[in-house]
Point group: C2
Chain length 212, copies 2
């Protein structure tokens, strides 16, 4: 039930057909704007994307924050479900890695979710849902550590941090991240999370290449 919060927010008797259509547009537009703009979305951003006036937005929705909170609640709950599902995987590493991929992908593709999970947006009161997600991720990480497929010299909390940081923070030193930069970062991070593999020799190659 990944849409339950939004459904609850917009519950109403029997709206007119055009009103129903506008509500759907509004929700879609909000998701879109939230993805692109993060928690800095404004009512005008949303109304414009939906091709709708401000009055229409406020007809169905008590406030902007209530709308954002409902959408984010559903998104977070969906992540939690995925984490719980990953616990069922027979392979502890594969379960973890697959979850990590979809977790990072979702965070990378939605600034709004990223903002919410990064502690911005306390005004939305999402802590209870975030707590559920955190617990599920903890189980996933600790299972992998106990199975010996994830470094045990780390606190489990280091793993969520490492995953969260796979998302590029905008540009970097003038370089524009590709849409798949999160995947490239995640590859490095997942490699770094595997148990120490003979800790490569300090300097196996030539000491320095003065050329260039």
């Amino acid at each position: 039930m990944p849409d339950s919060a939004v459904a609850a927010l917009l519950a109403q008797g029997r709206p007119r057909a055009d009103a129903q259509r506008n509500v759907e547009r509004l929700v879609a537009a909000t998701r879109e704007a939230l993805d692109e703009l993060g928690l800095a979305v404004t009512t005008r951003d949303i109304a414009q994307r939906a091709g709708v006036g401000l009055g229409t937005l406020y007809r169905r929705v008590p406030s902007l924050d209530a709308l954002l909170a409902a959408i984010l609640t559903d998104t977070i709950d969906e992540m939690t479900e995925r984490a719980a599902h990953a616990l069922d995987s027979p392979d502890a590493w594969q379960g973890f890695a697959e979850f990590a991929e979809s977790y990072v992908q979702l965070r990378a593709s939605s600034c709004g979710l990223h903002d919410a999970l990064s502690g911005r947006g306390e005004r939305l009161d999402l802590e209870p849902r975030i707590t559920r997600l955190r617990r599920a991720m903890r189980q996933l990480v600790q299972r992998a550590q106990k199975a010996g497929v994830l470094r045990s010299d780390l606190d489990w909390r280091d793993v969520p941090f490492a995953l969260a940081t796979a998302i590029p923070p905008g540009h970097t030193i003038g370089l524009v991240p590709g849409d798949d930069q999160w995947r490239r970062n995640l590859r490095i991070i997942l490699d770094g999370l595997r148990p120490a593999r003979s800790l490569a020799p300090e300097a196996p190659a030539a000491p320095a290449v003065p050329s260039d």
Copy 2:
């Protein structure tokens, strides 16, 4: 000459002693506020920290942006100098790793620098200085790759991205990052950047631990 831009901005004949003192306070306060608040600093933040009125700020400084740009220019130039210095290290990996550590540390400890290098703050026209830093980092990375001490299956640009992402973006799923979280992340990332070390067996341990 890491203070040249600030010095140039504030150049003046022979200010009165109290005026000179206030300018110094102002610069120190701006650095501090920039570290804590990032590019969102306001004139009031700065004046208050300096224990000075707004009028005093505008006496010496043409605009807030000019002040921020001068300070950030000097900070970026200092990073560039460190990168250039690291190129002199006889050990390509050590030179790279040491630079990486101070680079990430500086970004982690100064929101303002992090903002600037993350592409926020185009209004400040820092591109020329950022370009110099980027070039220096490229040399450092490619030297390490040629020396065989850094994975060669990565584009050099992936490395700045990986380093930039070591900085935790605020909280994560409700967990508060410690002051040294960047160091923990960096450790994972640096391990992931070393050449493939026998790519650990897929699942060396028990398939799953249903306990917990």
